[in-house]
């Protein structure tokens, strides 16, 4: 086992950094919790019949009046907090990962092509990226939300909230990928293996995706982890502001928004527990991202 670890640079570094190990454990627990939510959560918070107003505003079990039936207490509707958080994290992660995936495909594709062709194509693609950067994510989300509301029939709108949110987040994240992919591609274009492939007369798409892409994956993987954290935060922000998911299908951001109303009336747990949960998730993903960057960039070691 020790030999196996020693042979792999990444594993070796991992085994020697306690912060990264803790972050990895936290991230794995949260992600497992979110994935397994339908099986491990005490109740289904989306099922309106499963909770009653009579249980409303119960504190966590270790406080006075807390009960073991609701380990982390309930919100004003009588919804079990731990179930809401697990389901909420599930939604947050689905939206975050989907948005990151869309942003990766869009950004890496455009960035690779811009770096490969250069010249006018590059200039146009990068100006679009600049314009995108100038638009705040919230504005993009509002715009798409508005368009979706305008052109879709009302009964479809409710089902499409998740999609709209995902696209809005993806649109505000792809620029990072495009810029990194473009810069890395420029570096690779000067390498002789790329010249060899071009010289042999290989198809441009093959040169881009088979030859260049594997060589620029390192920095892209780092951005993927960091942007996953951003995507989750962005979703929380949008939901907090009310543009995101509605109160009946709460994500972490929605839970925090609901909790805000009770901050000053003594029911602290409704706000603080989902917030801490979100912070733990985002911080641990960020630590893992930093670690990946160190692994892929020997100069920073």
């Amino acid at each position: 086992m020790l030999d196996f670890i020693k042979r792999h640079e990444g594993l070796w570094l991992f085994s020697r950094s306690p912060a990264v190990i803790i972050a990895a454990i936290v991230a794995v627990i949260i992600i497992l919790g979110a994935v397994l939510a339908p099986w491990i959560a005490p109740v289904n918070p989306y099922d309106l019949a499963s909770f009653s107003l009579m249980d409303g505003l119960l504190p966590p079990m270790w406080e006075e009046f807390g009960t073991e039936k609701f380990p982390l207490g309930t919100d004003d509707q009588g919804r079990d907090m731990i179930s809401s958080i697990l389901y909420g994290a599930r939604l947050s992660l689905i939206i975050g990962i989907a948005a990151m995936a869309i942003a990766t495909v869009l950004g890496v594709g455009l960035g690779l092509a811009a770096g490969y062709y250069g010249g006018r194509f590059d200039a146009v693609a990068m100006r679009i990226a600049d314009i995108q950067l100038a638009l705040p994510a919230i504005l993009t989300a509002l715009l798409i939300d508005g368009i979706a509301r305008g052109i879709l029939p009302p009964d479809m709108q409710q089902n499409l909230r998740v999609t709209v949110l995902t696209i809005a987040i993806a649109l505000s994240l792809w620029v990072n990928f495009a810029r990194t992919a473009r810069a890395s591609t420029f570096v690779q274009m000067n390498k002789e293996y790329v010249q060899a492939a071009v010289m042999q007369g290989q198809h441009p798409l093959r040169v881009m995706f088979v030859h260049i892409l594997p060589n620029i994956l390192g920095p892209l993987l780092v951005i993927m982890t960091v942007d996953l954290a951003s995507a989750i935060l962005l979703e929380a922000t949008l939901s907090f502001l009310g543009i995101g998911l509605p109160a009946d299908s709460p994500s972490l951001g929605t839970l925090i928004r609901i909790g805000m109303q009770f901050l000053l009336s003594g029911e602290w747990w409704i706000l603080w527990i989902p917030t801490l949960f979100l912070v733990a998730l985002v911080v641990s993903i960020n630590i893992l991202g930093d670690f990946l960057r160190d692994v892929f960039n020997p100069r920073l070691r």
Binding site: K6, E192, Q195, M199, Q200
Partner: protein, 562 residues
């Protein structure tokens, strides 16, 4: 003055300590130039770093004594070692471009260093700086030292670096590959300067280099290293002229001579790289088979290449920069055309023009009598894409590090539709690997698992698998050690005579070109200085530039006076 005894340097790693230098010994007297030669990985630079106390972390001196005059270098604490560096031992690095601070004037860098070690006024320090630069042969030094490093030429920069190393009157200067990044003309000036300083100032020099010609030219004594161990040492003429150790003998045999052409190099036996005795007959038959392999020639007629120059005004178009001007030459079918020139002479641009990566603004090229379009006008499916193949300079970037060797080699086979079927392609790749002297296991490995010489063999194999008629080699050996270079040159010679390949061999190294070329073109600043049969040009050069290049290249005396 400097005395090193059984020096051992170790680097702790996660697999335990790695011994980089073992039981090394050397002495350097005042005014002596001591050459330290060896191939890459021999531990030359580690010895230098250990002496100056700048071993890269986590390396450490495990054993041995380092004595400079009366001072025990190992006994110094951090503060004392810091004071000694620069004051008594200085260092000159390989690349003058990176060892000077680009944001500081030359004057400020010199004055800063002088003031760091001596308690004198700024005025005095400036005076010293001027004197030093003038001693280095920089004219009008008081005015010139107001410049920034980028305003100096390469040779001037290296002189400034040497001045920087000298400004505290050190006893010992460690020069790590001081001329490797320089052209021959500048190299010879810098070497003369080093010799002069050793003679006049009585500074001891430790000259670390892989270039045996340089050592032969200026070193008094020489130490040969291999794999961290001392192989042989003594006066230069004795060690290089009558080497006793078999490794030194092999090394000397592999150095290409400038004054004659030899048929084959004697190849050292246990050099890493050659792994198989099988000849790869299948690949040979495949290369010879198919349609009859007629050799094909190439002609260039009045080719001019221009690049966009740097913009000086936003209103007018920038003047174009001419990289190649009216280049015309003829490559006979089945011959080797050598192209020589210093950096910036347009050698690589010429290779790129031939391969269609760069478009000439005027002129025409023909391949075997048919017109060869340049740049983007050459379509992806043009037959020349297959017929012209290239071996690049840097074997570390010419193979895609994320692909297995098998995938890299098979690419030309399916791209040009030469061989159908996965398994028959694989068989042919295996055969080709044996033809270039590689073990068959290589096919499932990644490029980083091989040394530079092995990678260059793989690059040659890839080029051959396209069944080319013309092979362009752009500095194929400049990243390689001499013994590996000798092997690769042998391989190219064999392939050329077996398959009637036409080779265009580009290099700045005159000795190497002489070993390969039938005809030669001498380039300078994008225009042809001289062309003709190689032996004629080397024996009786007519152009002044060729004469100058030949006289400045460091060579080994044919007969050593002992």
């Amino acid at each position: 003055m400097l005395r090193v005894e059984n020096l051992t340097v170790k680097f702790p790693s996660r697999f335990g300590d790695v011994t980089a230098v073992e039981d090394m010994a050397m002495t350097i007297a005042p005014g002596e130039i001591h050459g330290l030669v060896g191939e890459s990985g021999a531990g030359k630079s580690t010895v230098g770093a250990a002496i100056i106390g700048l071993l890269q972390s986590p390396g450490f001196v495990a054993e041995g004594s380092l004595q400079l005059g009366e001072t025990n270098l190992r006994g110094l604490d951090q503060f004392e070692a810091h004071k000694l560096r620069g004051k008594r031992i200085s260092m000159i690095f390989q690349d003058p471009q990176t060892s000077l601070n680009p944001l500081m004037k030359i004057e400020d860098q010199l004055v800063e260093t002088i003031l760091a070690h001596e308690d004198i006024s700024v005025k005095e320090a400036q005076g010293r700086a001027v004197d030093l630069l003038e001693e280095m042969g920089i004219e009008n030094a008081a005015a010139r030292m107001q410049s920034y490093p980028h305003q100096f030429s390469g040779g001037m920069r290296q002189r400034a670096v040497i001045a920087l190393a000298l400004c505290t009157n050190p006893e010992l200067i460690i020069a790590d590959e001081p001329t490797t990044a320089l052209d021959v003309a500048v190299q010879s000036q810098v070497l003369d300067l080093i010799r002069h300083l050793a003679d006049v100032r009585k500074v001891g020099f430790m000259l670390i280099t892989h270039d045996i010609g340089v050592i032969a030219q200026i070193a008094d004594t020489v130490t040969v290293m291999r794999r961290g161990k001392l192989i042989e040492n003594g006066p230069t003429a004795q060690v290089l002229g009558q080497p006793k150790h078999p490794y030194t003998q092999q090394l000397m045999g592999a150095v290409p001579p400038l004054d004659r052409k030899i048929a084959r190099f004697p190849v050292p036996e246990d050099v890493d790289g050659l792994e198989t005795s099988s000849k790869g007959d299948g690949a040979e038959a495949w290369l010879l088979g198919g349609e009859r392999q007629d050799s094909v020639g190439l002609t260039l007629d009045d080719i001019t290449v221009q690049f966009a120059g740097s913009r000086t005004s936003i209103w007018s178009k920038p003047d174009p920069f001419t990289a190649l001007e009216n280049i015309s030459f003829d490559v006979r079918p089945g011959s080797v055309m050598g192209i020589v020139g210093e950096s910036g002479s347009g050698k690589s641009t010429l290779a790129k023009t031939l391969t269609g990566l760069v478009k000439p603004v005027s002129g025409a090229m023909t391949l075997g009598g048919t017109n060869l379009p340049g740049g983007k006008a050459r379509s992806r499916h043009h037959p020349s894409r297959q017929l012209i193949q290239m071996v690049f300079q840097d074997p570390f970037s010419s193979l895609n590090s994320r692909h297995r060797i098998g995938a890299i080699l098979a690419e030309p086979l399916w791209l040009y539709g030469l061989v159908e079927g996965e398994s028959s392609r694989r068989d042919l790749c295996l055969q080709m690997l044996s033809l270039v002297g590689m073990a068959p296991e290589a096919i499932d490995k990644y490029p980083h698992q091989f040394s530079g010489g092995q990678r260059q063999r793989i690059a040659v194999a890839r080029a051959l698998l396209a069944r080319p008629k013309i092979l362009i080699c752009d500095e194929p050996t400049s990243a390689l050690d001499v013994s590996i270079q000798a092997e690769l040159l042998n391989l190219l010679k064999d392939l050329q005579s077996a398959f009637g390949l036409t080779i265009i061999f580009i290099s700045h190294n005159l000795a190497v070109v002489r070993q390969m070329a039938d005809d030669i073109v001498v380039l300078r600043n994008g225009s042809i200085q001289e062309q003709g049969p190689s032996e004629r040009v080397f024996d009786t050069p007519t152009a002044d530039y060729t004469k100058k290049l030949l006289s400045l290249t460091p060579v080994m005396p044919r007969v050593w006076s002992s």
